[in-house]
């Protein structure tokens, strides 16, 4: 499973990087989304992979070894929500810039050919 998730993160990140380097604003937006998945997962797995050990301390005596690490989860949870907000901001900039400049190139003008 470690290898699977590590490869998955790598593929997501690589696709994200490729898209971020593209010239069209929608490509960059998509790339940012993919990169944020990869980075969120990366932070998340830093706590280790645990199956069926959610951090819900419902038992009487809490044995820390029986639960996954809650800290990366808390960090990633806020990151997901913030990620939504930044996506929205980028989207609005993207369509606003297109309206003002008439192009969807990230630099606001078509490259000189």
């Amino acid at each position: 499973m470690e290898l699977t998730i590590a490869l998955g993160i790598g593929v997501l990140f690589g696709s994200g990087v490729w898209l971020v380097l593209r010239p069209r604003s929608f490509q960059v937006l998509t790339g940012l989304l993919l990169m944020s998945y990869a980075v969120n997962l990366f932070i998340f797995v830093m706590g280790g992979l645990w199956v069926d050990k959610p951090p819900l301390t419902l038992a009487e005596d809490v044995d820390p070894a029986a639960y996954t690490d809650p800290l990366p989860q808390a960090l990633v949870l806020t990151a997901i929500v913030i990620g939504f907000a930044t996506t929205a901001l980028y989207l609005v900039l993207m369509i606003g810039s297109r309206g003002v400049t008439g192009t969807d190139h990230v630099d606001g003008q078509e490259p000189d050919q």
């Binding site: 790598g10 820390p64 996954t68």
Partner: protein, 966 residues
Amino acid sequence: MLASLLFLPFLGSVIAACLPASAHRREAWLAGGIALVGLLMTGWLYLQVGADEVVRYQWQWLPAYGLDFTLRMDGLAWLFTALVQGIGLLVVLYARYYMSPEDPVPKFFSFLLAFMGSMLGVVLSGNLIQLVVFWELTSLTSFLLIGYWHHRIDARRGARMAFTVTAAGGLCLLVGVLLLGNIAGSYDLDAVLASADAVRAHDHYLAILVLVALGALTKSAQFPFHFWLPHAMAAPTPVSAYLHSATMVKAGVFLLMRLWPVLSGTPEWMWIIAGAGCITLLIGSFFAIFQDDIKGLLAYSTISHLGLITVLLGLGTPLGMVAAIFHTLNHAIFKASLFMAAGIIDHEAGTRDLKLLRGLYSALPFTATLAIVASASMAGVPLLNGFLSKEMFFAETVLFGGRGNWWLSIAALVMGIFAVVYSLRFIGVFVGKLPTDLPKQPHEPPHWMRFPVECLVFLCLLVGIAPSLSIGPLLHQAVTSVLGAQTPDYSLTIWHGFNLPFMMSLIALSGGILLYAVLRRYGDLANRGKVPLFHRINGAQLFDNTLQYLADLSEWLIRRLGTRRLQAQLLLIIVVMCGVVLTLIRLPSLPDSSALTSFNGLFALLWVIGGVCAISAAWLAKYHRLAALILVSGTGLVTCITFLWLSAPDLALTQLMVETVTTVLILLGLRWLPPRIKPSVPVRVPGVTVLRRSRDLIIAATAGTLLTVISYGVLMQPKVGSIADFFLLRSLSEGGGTNVVNVLLVDFRAFDTFGEITVLSIVALTVYALLRRFRPSPESIALPPQQTNSIDPAVKQSSALQADTGYLKIPAVYLRFLLPFMWMIAVYFFMRGHNLPGGGFVAGLIFTVAMIVQYMIGGTVWVESRLRLQPHKWIAWGLAVAALTGLGACLLGYPFLTSHTAHVTLPLLGEIHLPSAFMFDLGVFMVVVGTTMLILVALSHQSIRSHRVPGGGAPEPKAALSGGDR
């Protein structure tokens, strides 16, 4: 009392800034009142200081760094405080008449009071860092005051120059002080003074000396930094009288006095300080003779007198210190009065040009008499205060010369002669016949405008005639506070017998008169435009050239190294990121296969789907946006399932809801992008593009591989102890909840979450603001072709109609029916969040989705005519609830955001535990609802808004009927 003495001017400054521009009398009263109260307080403090006591005030500033805010008043500080307050009072009175009502007077008094406070801060600081802070504040206020008439280019230029020079000096001083504090082990002034020997013996002594000297010499306008002072004369005259002769420029010599016991007494000290002072004194007095502007003359004379004080300090003898302090005081008194007199002349005659002015005695007899007495004091005429300290200076140089070097005495004599010449040049404006071509016909000014000058000239006479009675005790206090046991015997009498210093005074006076006569007759003094011999040495020009060169250089660098292209910047960021990782990475030891979680085929399949989705999205994002978006959502879902699989139910829930709103959001944005249709005939891709794409592909592959390697490497490492145990063990007992992730968010790391919801609100408001000014591209304004299809009967119906009777009727019935249930689910997830997966974030997103679905089915108009959420208010209330919950803990004496759990027993429901974190979570919930709703609704409104075509066409009758928000 010390603290109020210091903060009163700052308070006054704020008040003055708030007063209306018309109230220029009130401001004068305010400023004068503050200076007067300060002066009275200072007088009161003399009871303590006069009894050899050091008044202190201390409070903790950064205790972790051993820094305290310390105020410390000894004899020297008292003397400077009295000087700042006393001259300040007179200057305020003077400025009350000098400033014209057209000027923004509140600003003037506000800056002036701020300066007064900063200067008091410098002289009263008992901590060196704090001293530097106030030091820079004086530079800043001086900048504001010089640039007060900011519409004038010379004022702006002078202000910039003064600020650059003095603030740069201040930075050097800061470094010097840091080194000094490092040696002494503390920044406290007393501690530094106590470790004088250690400092002088230290390897860094020379560095400290040079840095401190740079600070002091720039501030006191010493060679080679003297050039800023004449340009600072663009300031209003009260400012020149106050800052640039009496107080701020004295900060440099004050610092040298303050650190004299620590740094002086070495050859380096003497060469640097006395050397700079000696050159300054000669240059300043020589240049002063040939100025045409009265204020220019006074500025150069100030430079020269400051040089004199610096020389005295540089000699490093106790007697030199006595003379330096005495001359500082005397110079402040006569020079301030001279500046005020110059201001009166300017005010009355309309010009300050020495070539035009003469014969003013007949028009301004009182002012003329006062100015003549003051300039006689400047020239060093007996029975005036300037004579006394200048004679002490001569005596010092003679004493120094007794050790075999007479050059200093000669320099002193030359400077004395020059001083007489420029004083005579100034007096020259009063003699002769009044010209008729002056811009204004001069009259005596109002009495109260002249009053400050009278006061100061009276002091000149008083100190000059009865020094030991008037100034003696104060001076003695100041001297002993610096020198302590080293205090020498000195006498403040006028007549010391017919000795060498007195001879020098006489020679200077007679030589000066002679030189003046010669220059007038043969040197064409009255009409000479420039300084002979040295007119090519122009520090200001050099300064400007250097700045220009630096600006050109940075412009060139920006052109060469900078880019405005986003792709290049992103590329650089990613390459650097990969490069840094590559240099740091070390191959981990062989993975311990027992640490592996067993391979799971289903999980692998899941990630095959995820990976394929990601790569296909990357492939399709250019021409098939919708497909790419769906594929990205697929990856999001895989991520979501992974979270669920790997024991993170909260993350899975949040990811699912965010995925939903993000998709809706991007769908709303898609229609504003230009169509991009894949050419049916394959075009030949230019080679450059192929190269670029290959390069990007390599970079992307590298970045992905690196992240894979790192993730795998970390996952294969044996587990190390983390702080997770802390949270797991204390979640229930101290946080009152079993869902550790939620407890972390709303309790342990609540401050973090508070910051996060604040950011969220800011972003949402930014999006809203950007959309208010949104101008779509003209070709996107028309309805998209999908909505104008002639076959589709729904095209002619409004969204509401489609939902009520059209093809959306059945989904509409369902979804409207489901709305309360979806709300209920949101409430359910919210309520259980503290103990089971859920919480404010998830609940807020569910609530939003419930609303968005209604918008989608019924259209914006339909929903908003029935239920109008006001997202702004949700955001505001959410933040307020979260903040108030946190502050509640403060009220009870706990740190901000400390949680408290209450147990409430309700009928029917039984015992409910109600932590205060619950209220905080409610705030989070409201902010999340507010922000997501605000963003989505603002975006959906764009489709039903009528848009103006750029270039000013008529507003297009945009189909408000259409369900364009879909």
